[in-house]
Symmetry: C2
Subunit: 391 residues, 2 copies
Amino acid sequence: MKKVIYLDNASTTPVRKEVLSAMKPFWSENFGNPSSITKMGVLARKAVEQARMTIAECLLRRPNEVTFTGGGTESNNLAILGAVGYLEKRGSKISDLHFITTKIEHSSVLECFKELERRGAQVDYLGVQENGLIDLKELRKAIKSNTVLVSIAYANNEIGTVQPIRDIAKEVRHARKEKELPYFHTDASQAGLYLDLNVNQLGVDLMTLDGQKIYGPKDVGALFVKAGVNISPITFGGGQEKGLRSGTENVPLIVGLAKAFELARKDFEKTAKKVKNVRDYFWQKLQRQIPSAVLNGDGENRLPNNLNFSIPGIDPEFTVLCLDEAGIVCSTKSACDHDADESFVVRALGKSDEIVKSALRFSLDSKVTRRDIDFAVKKLYNIIYGHGKTH
Amino acid sequence: MKKVIYLDNASTTPVRKEVLSAMKPFWSENFGNPSSITKMGVLARKAVEQARMTIAECLLRRPNEVTFTGGGTESNNLAILGAVGYLEKRGSKISDLHFITTKIEHSSVLECFKELERRGAQVDYLGVQENGLIDLKELRKAIKSNTVLVSIAYANNEIGTVQPIRDIAKEVRHARKEKELPYFHTDASQAGLYLDLNVNQLGVDLMTLDGQKIYGPKDVGALFVKAGVNISPITFGGGQEKGLRSGTENVPLIVGLAKAFELARKDFEKTAKKVKNVRDYFWQKLQRQIPSAVLNGDGENRLPNNLNFSIPGIDPEFTVLCLDEAGIVCSTKSACDHDADESFVVRALGKSDEIVKSALRFSLDSKVTRRDIDFAVKKLYNIIYGHGKTH
């Protein structure tokens, strides 16, 4: 089989061997229902609670602040719609509630807010600067007395821009004063492998984690809900997960998520540095070979594994398909916006049409070598300029 | 290791070997995001659509009528809250909408309706007869001109009673006349292994399927949505599953669900007959040994693997724990009602307190032998009467 150089880790990652091993006993042997009072049930319950402990430890928080969900999309929905549900239950009218998010959030955040707008809520979508960072002053101005939730992703899934979460949290806390609200939610789906997740220092109230971005399984994730933060469930049933997420706990996937998270957090700074070196090499090499390439997103405040650039004049989808033929997997934008013909994230950077219409996203992992990058850049050059010799 | 006789299949089932094998390539090899345009993405997409086809074929329906979900609880939520969401979007006021369900539904159905009541809807909870069956005349009387949804489970998860789904569907269709509503939803989570799932003959509009009850994985299921039936999503994001269920498709679990379903449907009548024989043997033997045992639910219209009975005077939880010590796994009631101290389903049968407070649920599978049953009955006898000799 031809070697595949997988540079689409922002889309989804393979499941780690250790994660598969951790899940294995829970499919057909210790397969009990965690709500059963029998030994099999207790064993399953123990596995779920051990997984919760593992994730809590990585966040330096308590287990009862970790709710397991069906992945990043569900975590984002639970955080946003769940916060609204609680306020409505407490008597708030949705048309009185104000929300702040950004124009470059993942679709699972943006579409929640569009739904809230349909229901009558007021939502401010903050623009971003040309580097993809939000303007803190703009955020400060946007917060009103009836702002109940601010949701800003830790790291963007397309251009990798890392937002100043601590500063955002400070602004939110400042606006809050003695009040309980607004809450601050961050989608940290893309942050799991490379960024600091010390919740205490980040200062967030709600944080989304996703299995499939950290070499864990798809369709399992978690929502950090700080003690004292009130959200309501968005689906209903057996009342598992302290009532926040009904349905039999997905024991194997939860165990897998915890193992993936534990491994991801181990030496993440070292891994981040290693990946960043190769990514920087990629960008330097690319600039030499294809000088018309333009970086999308910030040079510094960026996921170490992300490289998003435009090459004016190219057809990005065709380029992705040609690279795919050559064994290099990348993408043009988020897989969750498959119907759109351009990246709304790159569009939000205020760049020209030819930049917006020619963006490519590469997302590396720690196994990618400089040799892989040499090969990828060569292929990219050949696709764009024909089979001439690269410099 | 001591042999375990697992008689709690209504709670959850182990994953079949063939299902594990089917899922295997999709964890770490063909792990692509089905929304990616690359070969890996196409491969993943193909696997998801093949799985959809498999399930559709088993239902004798079309693939576009099958929506993958995160399990039975989510399917039930999507059917009920999704139908409401669509009507609200079309301008209906929730307080004008009327719903019909029964008092013995699974918590994931009941709690949806309780939530709808909190939001102002009118819900009729039909009682059941002493055998657990609903009264069709009562249903007919309950349907009003503003009834928009009837939700009645195919087979009860505690007492195994199989409702006359075709007749219920006829009543609903009759009430509908030329109108589009009411829809008829059935939770078929417990039906997957043993009952007819020919949707055309059943006449349902929406049907819930669950992986973990048919030797498939937990946290994956499907909702059959008949063409022309309108429901709205209840979570928001990338718009996967024709907009009904956002989030990256859980490729391995979806493939596993389809394999489990395919195997479950193969010769299900033969399997049902085999299991029923052992179950009937169980009940006969039990009646001889413990004459005070009283059957809960109907003798005939019953899941072939379900035996639910009360033995007045026993402490059912203690009995379950003693049986568990002896290697026999069963339960007192639904694991999803872990906080309740009695079965609301057996309570709904209108029986005396001592029957309600002494119910045990056994749910067999096709591997259980008469010898296993002999052992189980003997142990049960010993637990109740002390270590005397059984007859």
